[in-house]
Amino acid sequence: MSGDGHTAEEMMAIAAARRLRDGANCFVGIGLPSRAANLARATHAPGCVLIYESGTIGAKPRQLPLSIGDGELAETADLVVSVPEIFSYWLQGGRIDVGFLSAAQIDRYANLNSTVIGEYEHPRVRLPGGGGAPEIAASCKETLVMLRHSPRAFVERLDFRTTVGYGDGPGARERLGLQGRGVSAVITDLGVLEPNPASCELVLRQVHPGVEVADVVSATGWPLQVAERVEVSPTPTGAELAALRALRTAEEQP
C-alpha cells in the first residue's frame, strides 16, 4: 500500500489501462489484461472495442468476466462469431489494433512463456499453454504485456518460447513473417518497460510512485537497460481508483 492508499496491483492495472487509446479495438486475454481493458473502457476509453477469443466482438460486460466466455460477454457483444472465424478473419486478417496478454515468463526481447517451467518433456510446472497468445502477438498491430515483476518471471532465458515478442532481436519479426509490430510496452507492478527501437531490447522507461530504479533492476533476471531519464508514473486519480475498485467478478461482489 502506498502513501495515498493504492496497491502495486492497482497501479499496474491503472498504468496498463492508460495505454489503451479510446476507439482502439483490443483482443483481451483473461485475468490482468481483462481487468485493465475494462478499466480503460470505464474511464478514458469508452469507445474501446473489447474482443475475447470466445468470438465475442464489442463485449460490454457490466461485471468483470471470470472466463473469456462468460454469458454476459455474448449478451453484450456487437456480434458473436465462431472460434475459427475470430482467429482467421479477425485476428489473422490484420484487423486488431491491440493485443493484451499476460505470461509466466518474459525475456529481454519480450518473448513470452506460458507453457512449462523446466524441461518440456519433464516439466517442474506444467502451465496452461499458449491458447490464443502466439497468434495474438503475431498479428495484432501492437501488443501490451502485463505481468508481476520478479527475477523468476523476468528471466535471462525462457524455459519455453510460447509467444514471440522480438525473437532474437532486430529483424527477427520480419524474417519470421509476423505482421504486427510486436510488443510496445510491458506493464508491471513496479513500472513500465518499452523496447529500444534499434536493439529491440526492453528498457525501463517508467517507475511507479514509490518505486526506485534499483528495485526494478534487482527484480529483473537479466542486466536491465535503464532509460537516461526514467519517468515516474502519474499517481492514480481518485476516479481511476474508484472505477477499478468497482470492477469485480460476480463472485467478488460484496
Binding site: 470466445s54 466466455g69 465462431s82 475459427p84 482467429f87 485476428l91 499453454g129 509476423l178
Partner: protein, 284 residues
C-alpha cells in the same frame, strides 16, 4: 439420421476404449454430462481433443480415462491450474498422459480442415515459437503462388465428437446459440457424433445467428438437462463460477478428488441425480 437415445446408450454404442474423442465447447455448452457418462462406463486409453480442456477433462484425466491429449490451453479459466492434468503430466498419476500441443488458432484450423475433408489446415502462426519442435502435427508449407512459408497443422479427424446444445427436435436436428466455439467443425470433422441437449422440442424455432446442425450429420442425440453444468447453456442457466472456484481445492488433493468423483459421478446414475446431489449441498 440421428437416433434419439439415452446418453448411456449413446456412449455405450459409440465410444470405445482407445478412441480419439473431442468433447468440445469453448467455455459455453461444455458437455459435462457426457464426460461423466464416459467416466461411469470406465472408458480407458482415450485420446482427448479440445482447445480448452478444463474441469471435465481434469475429471476424466484424474479418473484414468485418457492416455493422450491434443489441446491448446489447459487451465481452469480465471482460477488457475488444472491440478489433475498437471499431476498426470508432472507425475504420471493415475496414468501418464502424453500431450500434443497447439495454439487455439492452430486447433481451429485443424478442425476446419477436418470438417472440409482436407489433410491439413494452414495459418499464419507458430513461426519463431518452440511449439513446432515439440508437436509432430505442426509443420510448414510453401504457398505455390507467393512462395510464402506458412504453418500447416494436420487435420483433426476424431473418432467421436461430443457436443452439448440447447435444443434438438425429435428427428434429431440440433440448434445451439450464444458462443458457438468450434462445435460445428468438431461434429463435421468426426466420424461419429453425439449431441446432448437441454431439451427435446417438437419443432425448432429458427433463431437469428444460431448454429443449426442437421440430423443427417449427427449420429445420436440424447437429452441431458443441465448437462453443461458447471459450464452454462445460454438462455437456460448461467455459468456456475463458484463451482469453478471450488474445483481448485477439490482437485488439488488426490484423495479428496477421488472421493468427490465417487460420490458425485460414480455413485450417481445420470445427470439428474448429479444435479440433485449438487442442489443438496455445497460443491465441496
Amino acid at each position: 439420421m440421428a437416433e434419439v437415445v439415452t446418453l448411456r446408450d449413446a456412449v455405450a454404442e459409440l465410444v470405445a476404449d482407445g478412441d480419439t474423442v473431442a468433447l468440445e465447447g469453448f467455455t459455453h455448452l461444455i458437455p459435462h454430462a457426457a464426460g461423466h457418462e464416459l467416466i461411469r462406463q470406465r472408458r480407458r486409453g482415450l485420446t482427448l481433443v479440445r482447445l480448452t480442456p478444463d474441469v471435465i477433462y481434469d475429471q476424466m484425466i484424474g479418473m484414468g480415462c485418457a492416455e493422450r491429449m491434443i489441446f491448446s490451453w489447459g487451465g481452469n479459466p480465471g482460477v488457475g491450474s488444472l491440478h489433475r492434468f498437471r499431476d498426470a503430466v508432472e507425475s504420471g498419476w493415475p496414468v501418464p498422459l502424453a500431450i500434443e500441443e497447439h495454439s487455439h488458432a492452430g486447433m481451429a484450423a485443424a478442425y476446419a480442415a477436418g470438417a472440409a475433408n482436407l489433410p491439413f489446415g494452414v495459418l499464419r502462426g507458430y513461426a519463431g515459437t518452440d511449439l513446432p519442435g515439440h508437436t509432430a502435427s505442426a509443420g510448414w508449407v510453401d504457398c505455390p503462388f507467393t512462395g510464402e512459408r506458412l504453418a500447416a497443422v494436420r487435420a483433426l479427424r476424431p473418432d467421436v465428437a461430443i457436443v452439448h446444445a440447447q435444443q434438438a427436435d425429435r428427428a434429431g436436428n440440433v440448434q445451439l446459440w450464444g458462443i458457438s466455439g468450434v462445435q460445428k467443425e468438431a461434429v463435421l470433422a468426426a466420424r461419429r457424433s453425439i449431441v446432448t441437449v437441454e431439451e427435446l422440442v417438437d419443432e425448432l424455432a429458427p433463431r437469428p445467428g444460431a448454429v443449426v446442425i442437421p440430423t443427417w450429420v449427427v449420429t445420436a442425440v440424447a437429452e441431458a438437462p443441465g448437462g453443461a453444468h458447471p459450464s452454462y447453456a445460454h438462455g437456460y442457466y448461467d455459468r456456475d463460477n463458484r463451482f469453478y472456484t471450488a474445483w481448485d481445492a477439490i482437485s488439488r488433493d488426490r484423495e479428496r478428488f477421488t472421493a468427490w468423483m465417487q460420490r458425485h459421478v460414480l455413485d450417481t446414475a445420470d445427470v439428474r441425480e448429479y444435479a440433485a446431489l449438487l442442489r443438496e449441498g455445497s460443491p465441496a
